[in-house]
Amino acid sequence: MTDMAATLQAQKTAAEAMRKRRYAADARLRWYGRIAISVAILLLLTLLVTISAGGYKAFIQTHATIDFPISEELVDRADPAKGDWRAVVRNGIEAAIPGIAASELRKAQQILTNNTQFFVRDAVVADPSVIGKTLTMRVPVSDPYDQMQKGVVSRHLPEERRRLTDREIEWFDALASQGRISTPFNWGLLFNADSRFPEIAGLSGAIVGSFYALMVCFLISFPVGIAAAVYLEEFAPKNRITDIIEVNINNLAAVPSIVFGLLGLAVFLQMFGLPRSAPLVGGMVLSLMTLPTIIIVTRAALKSVPPSIREAAAGIGASPHQVILHHVLPLALPGILTGTIIGLAQALGETAPLLLIGMNAFITSPPGGVMEASTALPTQIFIWADSPERGFVARTSAGIMVLLGFLLVMNAIAIFLRQRLERRW
């Protein structure tokens, strides 16, 4: 009897142990899943946090307020554009920093951004009445000082390990003690064009270029995509040719983006001789990439319109085209628009094909049309990421934040459209 009890007991413990093992395995798998999700979310957070931590500083810019005496000896009243603006800036600095030696002026002038003389010139040309008086202007300070003021580069490093000498910091502090240094919001980041100098480099050229390219992309891919989808979904006979077209569209959606760049380079630039770096070509290349997305989304939207609508329309005598144009397409439009916006958002972030057709040009003014050389937002980020100046690190992050902001807005619009207009049958 005891034997049997013992065996039973043994079996029970064995079963217990086995169940424990099995439950442990279950718990382990659950934890692996949790860990995987946490890792993925953590990585996303790291990405966003490092970008914003590096980028928020570029949204403010250190400025110095300097009084520039515009003397008539240096600036001709008759032709103000031809003045000795370098000397004007020098005089302004000399007046602002007490006790500075004449030999040091050249060095001290570099506190202000290199383009100060042109800013002053433009201000005077715009308003010649200040000639003979003093012009007070707020100009951005150059990158090393800006970095120090924002605390990116510590001023307490040993002198040989920073770009500014003690003497230079002394001048800057002299300006600061007069209340001439301010750090306002950096509107220049959004409204200036690109520049070699980080303190005045901005995104306006890239934003305008991206806008033109996206407009071209939309104008081509939206009508063509919808027409193709309507044909394939509603009219096409199911045969070999339409099968090939369908497989083709699916494959095209998975072709690496750089291959589209090669296509644009060989066909649009080489064969048709369209201008390099132009938003027109960029938009055309992007539209080829967006086309499959729009076709696939539109077909899904058309599919979701119930057959009863088609039958009702056909039943009262509408032709097949009238059924689609007057009844099905309007009902599918919210879905189509949502998909189009998402496709355009992808196109906005696309970089590689734009590099190949030269939309990474260094352009110091926003393009005036679709045929003029330009950059786009992602290519501008790429250019800045490659620039050696310290200030461009923050600019790059800030550019990324602007790009992500645009993407966020586009996706929000898409979600809004979907929720607002989507119909359930």
């Binding site: 995987a36 990585l43 044909y231 998975a254 001789g273 290519t379 790429f382 992050s397 790009l403």
Partner: protein, 459 residues
């Protein structure tokens, strides 16, 4: 000029629509019984015939005008400039003439060039005006002809619908044309490349130094196009990416399918989708700014000499980018397994883990493999992360903390800032592009087929 012309076309089409519709209105008012089409269709018929041919004409004109003018220009240049010149020299000449014509003069151009620039200017204005005259007269003629054809019995609706169908077919073919364009341009340029560099050297050579071959007479000007190190680098980085992405993506999918409740799913899924929505240039910057220095420091702790552009940094960050593809495709595959299989397993007392590993995963395996293949094709074709974070020098190594280069990096570096289309350096990029296209195409075709076939089984 083109902008004004396009506006004119639009305006004239609107006028045409109005003309046609008022004709239709008249028919309807006079003979309500016997009118075939609604007035709007009469309008659309006239508008299409006025606008469409003119639009096509203008587009073709703009596309080919430069080529024709260039041809004329080369023909008109004095023989001593063009005789025996290579295509590159001729295109350089044309570029110079165009610059002079556009007023961007550096130094003093030769009188021949100045004369050519003047001719170019006059030809351009002749061409532009001719385009306007031809387009406008075509539109007016079309309006007159089509208006004359309108009668109450005219089947305008059928005509318009036929044209619409034709246009829709053309649009559907656009996708095929794009593919054809890709294949033709890649094959054409690669053909030119393989005439200079034998395919065997390209596919089996171990030495990739394309910059050397800028001048033909240089030492080692030949044989610097052995692409094996580039392929190896691509494979290395893609492997690292997949090692990062596959477990994370797969376990995420398993958790979301089997363990997570509806609320967790609705939070986690959009967050993962955000990973896929971040532009790749951002990932590239992240790799350079954060990940590469971190890896270098970690390597320094263990006394390893880590390259600043390690394959690990580029591959790892690429892995992050790919996580959502794998997780969502695996999620789809796991969900497509019929519920009865899962419930049956649970009913027999199997734990969720056992159900997952013994029932769902084996059943969903083809779909998951298809998803992984699609992700792999993305990893191979991904450009910006590697352009920013991987190296430029092709070295034949499998060491993940070494610097390697990839196919896409080489394509970009070979083509940036260089548009001469007859140097092997430029053409090599197209050969690499061809290889890239074919490999990703093969992966995609297989993956799509596997995924689709598998889905059909349970439907």
């Amino acid at each position: 000029m083109v902008g004004y012309l396009l506006t004119t076309i639009l305006l004239l089409s609107c006028v045409a629509f109005w003309v046609g519709r008022s004709a239709g209105n008249k028919f309807a008012a006079k003979s309500a019984q016997s009118t075939h089409s609604l007035p709007g269709y009469h309008g659309a018929f006239v508008a299409i015939w006025v606008g469409l041919p003119a639009l096509v004409l203008v587009l073709l004109w703009v596309l080919f005008q430069n080529n024709v003018i260039n041809g004329l220009l080369v023909g008109s240049l004095p023989d001593d400039l063009t005789a025996g010149a290579s295509p590159a020299q001729i295109s350089l000449l044309i570029a110079e003439v165009r610059n002079v014509a556009a007023g961007q003069i550096f130094g003093t151009p030769s009188p021949d060039i100045v004369a050519a620039a003047e001719r170019l200017g006059s030809w351009q204005s002749i061409s532009a005006w001719a385009m306007v005259v031809v387009a406008v007269s075509i539109m007016l003629l079309a309006m007159a002809f089509t208006r004359a054809r309108l009668t109450p019995a005219f089947r305008a609706r059928n005509r318009v619908e036929n044209i619409l169908s034709g246009l829709m077919i053309l649009c559907s073919i656009a996708a095929v044309l794009t593919t054809l364009g890709i294949i033709t341009s890649l094959l054409y340029e690669s053909w030119a490349f393989f005439k200079i560099v034998p395919p065997a050297d390209f596919f089996f050579g171990l030495n990739w130094e394309p910059q050397i071959a800028i001048r033909a007479d240089q030492v080692a000007g030949n044989g610097a196009f052995g692409a094996v190190p580039v392929f190896v680098g691509t494979i290395l980085i893609a492997t690292i990416a997949m090692t990062v992405a596959t477990p994370i993506g797969l376990y995420t999918a398993i958790y979301l399918v089997e363990y997570a409740n509806e609320r967790t799913r609705s939070i986690v899924k959009p967050i993962l989708e955000m990973l896929a929505g971040v532009p790749t240039v951002v990932y590239g910057f992240f790799a350079v700014l954060t990940v590469a220095p971190a890896i270098r420091e970690a390597g320094g702790l263990f006394g390893l000499a880590t390259s600043p552009n390690s394959a690990l940094a580029a591959g790892g960050v690429m892995g992050i980018m790919i996580i959502p593809f794998i997780s969502s495709l695996s999620d789809d595959a796991l969900r497509a397994v019929p519920r009865s299989l899962r419930d049956g397993s649970l009913a027999m007392g199997a734990t969720r883990a056992e159900t997952m590993t013994r029932v769902l995963l084996p059943a969903a395996l083809p779909g998951i493999v298809g998803g992984i293949l699609l992700a792999l094709s993305r990893a191979i074709g991904e450009t910006m992360i590697v352009v920013m974070a991987a190296g430029l020098i092709a070295s034949l190594t499998f060491n993940p903390i070494d610097s390697v280069t990839t196919v896409t990096v080489q394509i970009v570096t070979l083509l940036i800032g260089d548009t001469a289309f007859d140097s092997p350096k430029t053409l090599a990029a197209f050969a690499l592009g061809l290889v890239l296209f074919l490999i990703t195409l093969a992966l995609n075709v297989v993956a799509l087929r596997v995924v689709r076939k598998y889905r059909e089984q349970y439907d």
